[in-house]
């Protein structure tokens, strides 16, 4: 649970995206693309889920990437090499089903780009043709471009302000690609509106679509139901039934509302900066 490397991979308008490598030999042996871990920064901290971006069983390490958004991620971001986490458990959730789908489009938005990297690598290794679309606000906020370039056959970058790549949304590019070619799978991770639009576009062209959902969790082992989502009208627990689901069946509105259940507390606690060690 010790941090062996730390890198700030994006920093814009005071919001940082941080990459941590941690010593976690047990988890590194078992983690596959699609898995996540639960992290507690300190004894009084929350349990939060983070995707395993990379795992190396030889060095016994795993890589996590997160954006400093709430209190917990800010505490994590303040940790340094040599510091330990209070708790780290996993790998949790289902791994991505890795097989040959033919041509695959991966869509990553914001910090969600980190979550598509392991999937891109695994699917590429399984012989898929990988097209990746990355979306970010601007050039400064974009992460993992080089890594995804080498894991993809084709890479498109979309920025909201046009400061890099093309100006526009990831779904603009997705629709264009879908209108021109045949694809076996769309895999998207990012903000809810982005995943929703990607799923709608995929449905329009009758392409299978997977999304990795960011529901709130507590134990993350199927025991509390905090992360329940509706998929094709059926209640599922993101932690044990997901976190990947068929994007065309997700009740997005419900997920978005459930994710806001603690917004008040989040704002309150983030104003209490004494909880964050310098």
């Amino acid at each position: 649970m010790k941090i062996i490397s730390k890198e700030v991979i994006a920093d814009y308008a005071g919001t940082r995206i941080i990459k941590l490598s941690l010593l976690a030999p047990e988890i590194s042996r078992k983690a596959r693309a699609g898995h996540f871990v639960v992290v507690m920064a300190n004894e009084k901290g929350e349990r939060i889920p983070l995707t395993v971006v990379d795992a190396d069983s030889k060095s016994g390490s795993i890589t996590l990437i997160f954006q400093e958004a709430g209190l917990t991620t800010r505490i994590l971001g303040a940790l340094n090499v040599g510091d330990g986490l209070y708790a780290l458990s996993g790998p949790l959730g289902h791994a991505t089903e890795v097989k040959n789908y033919g041509k695959v489009i991966l869509v990553g938005g914001g910090v969600g780009i980190a979550e598509i990297l392991p999937v891109a690598r695994a699917l590429k290794e399984a012989g898929n043709h990988i097209t990746t679309i990355l979306g970010s606000r601007n050039k400064a906020a974009l992460i993992l471009e080089a890594e995804l370039k080498s894991a993809s056959d084709q890479l498109y970058i979309m920025t909201d302000d046009g400061s890099y790549g093309l100006k526009g949304f990831t779904t603009d590019m997705l629709k264009e690609l879908l209108s021109k070619g045949k694809y076996g799978l769309i895999y998207s991770v990012g903000p809810i509106p982005m995943m929703k639009k990607a799923a709608e576009a995929a449905a329009e062209y009758k392409v299978k679509t997977l999304v990795s959902l960011n529901a709130l969790m507590v134990d993350a082992t199927g025991m509390c139901g905090c992360c329940r989502v509706s998929i094709f009208g059926e209640v599922k627990f993101s932690c044990v039934d997901g976190p990947e689901f068929d994007g065309s069946g997700v009740d997005w509105e419900e997920l978005e509302k459930r994710n806001k259940a603690y917004n008040c507390q989040e704002k309150h606690i983030c104003n209490l900066s004494q909880y964050i060690k310098p």
């Binding site: 047990e26 988890i27 078992k30 507690m40 009084k44 901290g45 929350e46 349990r47 209190l71 917990t72 209070y86 708790a87 780290l88 458990s89 996993g90 790998p91 949790l92 507590v218 134990d219 082992t221 199927g222 025991m223 509390c224 139901g225 905090c226 329940r228 989502v229 509706s230 209640v235 044990v240 009740d251 509105e253 419900e254 509302k257 459930r258 806001k260 259940a261 603690y262 507390q265 989040e266 309150h268 606690i269 209490l272 909880y275």
Partner: protein, 470 residues
Amino acid sequence: MKKEPVKVKEAPVEIRVGNFEEVVEGYCEQEALQEALRCLQCKNPFCISGCPVGIDIKKFIYHITRKDYRSAYFTIREKNNFPSICGRVCPAEYQCRKACVFTKKGLPFASEEAINIHLLERFLGDYGKENNLDTPAQKEAKFSTLKVAVAGSGPAGLCCAGELARKGVKVDIFESLHKTGGVLRYGIPPFRLPGDILDFEINYLKKLGVNFITNFLVGKTATIKELFDRGYSKVFLGLGAGVPSFLGIKGENLSNIYSANEFLTRVNLMSAYKFPEFHTPVNIGRNVLIIGGGNTAMDAARVALRLQKIRGLPLNTTVIYRRTNIEMPARRMEIEHARQEGVKFEFLAQPKEFIGSNQGSVEKLICLKSKLGKPDSSGRRRPINIEGSEFELDCDLCVIAAGLKANQVLIKETPELKTDANSDVIVNPGNMESSIKGVYAGGDIVGGEGTVIEAMGMAKKAARAILDNS
């Protein structure tokens, strides 16, 4: 002349609803003695047959009357490893006390006059703890090379580990959460079972040589097969029943509708009642409804009341139950404590639909009135919904305590582990061995939602079988 039962001291209502301190203070020596002297020492004691593990209740009460607390303590310990815990959480009024000769015939639970066996057990458990009494380890050389993996650190896992470690077996307990104790930690609130009682038992096991490995989810972090590959010759599964049931009604995924497990885990395990010092939040409302009639429902209701008090809201928490008071499966003491503290009850009401706001938070619960029909398979009268009897209740926070099912993570990762229609692990009832050779199971993962004492009974049997087959 029959003597009156000795009442146990309890924290005053107005103080206790504002904190999470233990409510029942327990008997002092004088009170325990007085209560023990009420026991008739029946020639054929029914109480023993009422205990799921057959504790010699008559004998331990006799020892109390002779002030031989040591012998009394060890009489319990022959059958029960954790009397301090069971004395606090056992539903005695449905077990030993119901069988007590002082209980009037035909009642669904013990009469008030029945001997307070649980309070005497608790007195002895705490006496043993304070005087460092414990069954001495009887380590046997032949077990010194034996390594056993226990999955889950709840009542079953702790009990099995203790039984094995006392014989010199090397035991590693794997716990998926960051803290040990399982349901005793995340489920039962500290005002019923204080953390230090649990810590004492766990520390004692550590002294015996039991090794606790937290943040390790057997099935995910390592499979059962991988545990065998690591040199464990036997595996015990004490996984528990932690999967919450929901009602399956419209609107159930609105915000501020919690499973009891989530609500209690946030408060008990994550200390959300101390937010923002602890970072895990929990919401509370002005009109809190708790659905269910079991101990978990009572726990959730009393936690909700405390959160209302701590946040400066008027106390307004109502339990919704589809039968009536008499059919509620909760311990009578919990129901009484809840009532004293101000929890309200709405009986013969069946939730039908939740109505939410535009923001997606719950605002109302629509219920149907019900009436009681003929007894069902549980022996309790079955609730029948009355058509067209809908009524609305204001509800800005709801906790659903509608039962729990077996934990599924390990089961799903282990197809060769046979399970029944309820997804509980199937075992040979004689030795608690599962369909996989060398893999034993006990507690709620086998029997479905049960009691701590039943879990311990199964764990002891499994430990015996592990020792016999090693």
